[in-house]
Amino acid sequence: MRKHLVLRVVSKLLMPFILLFALYVQFHGDFGPGGGFQAGVIFGSTFILYALVYGVETARRVARDWVLRLFMITGVLIYIGVGYVALFLGGPFLDYNTLSAHDPVHGQHLGILLVELGVGITVAATMVTIFFAFASRGRG
């Protein structure tokens, strides 16, 4: 792994910015293009870049399998959970208006924020999981 020094340094420099960009896309989806899904993909690709440069096994030590699976599950649960919360607050499933007692628009904001977060988490974790599954196949 002593080869590709340039690649390693450059990607190390790039990674924080990609992550930052992912977060920007995640939370700026309300105003410009973007949202949870795109952010998840970008976030996930940072790990994939890491794995490509430093080797899959190293990357797997950073993002353990069970952690990834946990995130995969968490994201879905956040989304569906928001739906259930709305249900318990007396509205129909996924009705964000109920999330805020005084201002429906506020509730909508909150709902969308949470839901996009769920999407982002699951998508990122799933992308990395799938990539790892492919990359470590045939190596034991």
Partner: protein, 121 residues
């Protein structure tokens, strides 16, 4: 409406149809499983273009609300296609995983060679 008058307005759709059929042809005519999956991708992407084309409004802009009133393109197809893209990549991922398993089990990814190995009942 008589047909000649339609031609310029429908030109866009016709190109999409041609693209779609190229993808479809790849899927059903090739024996290499990898190519079949690539074909599926092309087929699906062309359907996406079909949807997005129907949402376009002449002189419209991207559907992000601004203060001064303008014409927006139709956002609903965009939403549908976002969903469809995700479904498409999910299918691709599964297909790819299956192909990897098939390669391990048979040593080939050519449909006819696999069939030759498994005499039908």
């Amino acid at each position: 409406m008589d047909i000649p008058a339609d031609i310029p307005g429908l030109y866009n759709y016709w190109i999409v149809v041609v693209l779609m059929m190229v993808g479809f042809y790849v899927v059903i005519s090739r024996t290499n499983l990898v190519k079949k999956i690539v074909g599926l991708n092309i087929f699906q992407t062309s359907v996406f273009i079909l949807y997005i084309s129907m949402g376009k409004v002449k002189g419209g802009t991207a559907p992000i609300l601004v203060d001064h009133p303008v014409t927006y393109s139709n956002p609903l197809p965009h939403v549908l296609i976002l969903t469809a893209i995700v479904v498409g990549v999910a299918t691709t991922a599964l297909g790819a995983a299956l192909i990897v398993r098939i390669k391990e089990a048979y040593g080939t990814v050519e449909e006819d060679e696999i069939q030759a190995m498994e005499p039908d009942e």
